[in-house]
């Protein structure tokens, strides 16, 4: 009698064999490709790695000097450019205004990923090995991804301490805090000496500005944006640091808990400032603000408006960061010019 394997048994056997074959295939599937190992770039201290830094309450560990970093927000981009590290950048994104003149050429040599935050795909396409942003919001799930996600993908991240999501992790607003950030970033990239040089230069420049004291005895309104109720520089942020450095008095300096505040024109009219400093940003240009001041029936009677005593500062140079000293210098220069005009 012919023995045949019955159909149900054959079907079961077939299933088992296919399952085993499938499992075998899956097991032999390659995992994600390993990143190519790279030697330390020229000029970096390879022995210093891995570098570990505390940032916004978490430990950031960088195993190797970043070669393809991505910077998000103008502050972060400019810190890296100030350290002369444009050749280690794979992309930049999200400016507030023009990058400072001295770094324009370097900036143009790096691809711009997006006008604002890049999408996750655009970000991944740059194959970043490090990401640096000024604001914690860059690393949200709907933007480029959370910091935990990115670390798991092999991209350590760093957020400017001023932009940490939780207030307890933010440093006090001062030049020193901005310089600490520059030094931290320099360490991450393996060029700590360059960081120290940049800071030393800025310290010297700030000393010169302080010594000149171009703003002594001058009452200043720091006008940032908005028209119905102005958004002004208050007593606890970048604007106050600049005004302190040049020796001027901030009309709203008494509001010490915040960097900027929405106030009333009444107080401005009552204080009648000698000079109005205008923050120049792409969303609120100095020209727009001057137009508003000159066309308003009450504000056009302010002394500073009648005599056109305006000082213009790029917005990026008015927030605590690598351009704050430059901001102080340009304010001091313009104040000195106005004084010269007066005494003529």
């Amino acid at each position: 009698m012919r023995t045949t394997v019955s159909r149900p048994v054959r079907r079961r056997a077939g299933l088992i064999i296919s399952a085993l074959a499938g499992a075998g295939l899956l097991a032999s599937c390659a995992g994600p490709p390993q990143p190519e190992g790279s030697g330390s770039p020229a000029g970096t201290d390879g022995d210093a790695y891995p570098v570990t830094i505390e940032n916004c309450g978490r430990q950031v560990t960088v195993e190797q000097p970043p070669e393809k970093a991505v910077t998000l927000n103008q502050g972060a981009t400019e810190v890296v450019l100030a350290l002369g590290l444009e050749d280690r950048l794979a992309g930049t994104a999200y400016l507030d205004g023009r990058v400072a003149e001295q770094w324009q050429e370097a900036y143009q040599s790096v691809p711009v990923l997006a006008k604002e935050y890049p999408s996750k795909e655009e970000f991944l396409a740059a194959e970043p090995d490090f990401a640096y942003a000024s604001y914690g919001s860059a690393f949200e799930a709907k933007n480029v991804g959370t910091r935990t996600e990115l670390v798991a993908q092999g991209t350590p991240t760093y957020v400017s301490p001023f932009g940490c999501p939780k207030e307890q992790h933010r440093p006090e607003v001062s030049f020193r805090s901005a310089w600490n950030e520059i030094e931290d970033v320099a360490r991450i990239f393996g060029v700590p000496d360059r960081g120290k040089d940049v800071v030393r230069e800025q310290e010297q420049e700030l000393e010169d500005v302080r010594a000149e004291s171009a703003g002594e005895g001058i009452d200043v309104l720091w006008y940032d944006s908005k028209t119905k109720s102005p958004f002004v520089g208050a007593g606890g942020g970048g604007p106050q640091l600049i005004l302190d450095a040049v020796g001027a008095t901030n009309v709203f300096g008494g509001m010490e808990d915040e960097g900027w505040a929405t106030v009333s024109w009444e107080k401005v009219v009552a204080a009648d400032p000698d000079v109005i400093v205008l923050a120049d940003a792409s969303w609120s240009s100095a020209r727009e603000k001057i137009d508003h001041l000159e066309k308003d029936p009450v504000l056009s009677e302010l002394t500073a408006v009648q005599e056109e005593r305006y000082v213009t500062v790029p917005f990026a140079a008015s927030t605590p960061g690598v351009r704050l000293v430059e901001g102080s210098r340009t304010v001091a220069e313009q104040l000195a010019e106005l004084e010269d005009l007066d005494s003529k």
Binding site: D96, E116, S225, K226, T227, K228, S229, F252, G254, M255, A261, T262, V263, S264, W265, E266, K267, V269, A270, D272, A281, S282, W283, S284, E288, D291, H292, K295, D296, P297, V298, E301
Partner: protein
């Protein structure tokens, strides 16, 4: 029910007191007698010595704001009362016919696209943009809801208003997220929350004229609106040309509201809540309801403006936030009383 004239007198007195208080309040403290002196001098009553600073602050900054607040408050409350009667819907507010949506689209378009409206700068361009936007939305709503016979059925009008409002808010969201830059959302938010801080004398005069015309015309229609309260058929049998009057009144209130929105942004609750408060005080007869709504609306907005300037030291809170914070609990209380009475 209290008598309308008595309440009216009290209301006017309160309005005057609130206005003087508003003039005397602000981030810069100015003693009351200086405030009154500055006002009297400008109105050529007697001889007063007033510093330039006091004059500037009291007469050129605060006075237009108070005048603006009075006009806008009166316009919104009056429009709300009329619309509630016309549509026989207790939840109707002045923004019913897509005015808030259209005004928002117009204002955001100016903010985002930076429309230079024939060389006019800043606040004027914003006002014009908001007004034009409101008119376009109004035209859309009227177009959608007018029947072939030229009638405006209330239910259909409300629905058309909702539809246009939804379309407008998506348009605003689109413009803010896709076309705007970092600060756009903030600016739009501030405009949306409403403020009379930008009102100077030129705009204040405009707002007063609009409010005055509105009050005069709508008061004249008080009897007609009373007829509406009894239903269309009763009104018709009383000789009221229901369709024409409804059209005319809807358009008029929409125009008044559009003017208010143009300069003050979107101020909620005043148009919705005030008419109910007045009805509780003096009953539903329009002879009392309309003028008292206007006066109480003015008081509400002047008070809200004062609060917005003085609640937090040195800072200005948007008007819409204050009216919401105060108006919402009042509305809740009203609903509660309504529930207890009817059930």
């Amino acid at each position: 029910m209290r008598s309308a004239p008595a309440v009216g007198l009290l209301a006017v007195a309160t309005l005057l007191a609130a206005s003087v208080h508003a003039l005397a309040s602000g981030p810069v403290s100015i003693p009351a007698q200086d405030v009154l002196a500055a006002v009297a001098r400008r109105m050529h009553i007697g001889d007063h010595d007033v510093t330039v600073l006091t004059d500037r602050i009291v007469w050129q900054l605060r006075m237009p704001r108070v005048v603006g607040a009075v006009s806008v408050g009166a316009s919104l409350a009056l429009s709300g009362a009329v619309l509630q009667s016309l549509t026989r819907n207790d939840l109707a507010d002045p923004y019913l016919l897509g005015i808030s949506g259209g005004g928002g689209v117009g204002a955001v378009a100016v903010i985002v696209l930076g429309f230079p409206v024939a060389g006019i700068v800043g606040t004027a361009a914003l006002a014009i943009g908001a007004f034009v936007g409101a008119l376009v939305a109004l035209a859309l709503v009227l177009g959608l809801s007018t029947t072939r016979e030229g009638d405006l059925p209330p239910a259909r009008t409300v629905l058309a208003g909702v539809a246009v409002g939804l379309a407008c808010s998506s348009a605003v969201s689109f413009m803010v997220t896709v076309l705007g830059d970092r600060d756009t959302a903030n600016q739009v938010l501030h405009w949306t929350l409403g403020s009379v801080a930008g009102v100077r004398w030129s705009s204040a005069v405009f707002l007063v004229v609009v409010a005055a015309v509105g009050v005069a015309v709508l008061l004249a229609c008080a009897r007609t609106l009373d007829a509406f309260a009894f239903g269309e058929n009763t009104a018709r049998s009383l000789g009221v040309r229901v369709e024409r009057i409804r059209w005319a009144l809807l358009v008029l209130t929409a125009l008044i509201t559009a003017c208010a929105v143009a300069y003050a942004g979107l101020i909620g609750f005043v148009g919705l809540v005030i008419p109910h408060v007045v009805r509780l005080l003096v009953g539903p007869s329009h002879g009392g309801l309309l003028p008292l709504s206007a006066i109480l609306g003015a008081i509400a907005l002047v008070g809200a403006d004062t609060l917005s300037r003085t609640l937090v030291d040195g800072r200005e809170i948007p008007l819409g936030v204050v009216t919401g914070l105060v108006g919402a609990p009042i509305f809740a209380v009203l609903l509660h009383r309504e529930r207890r009475r009817s059930g």
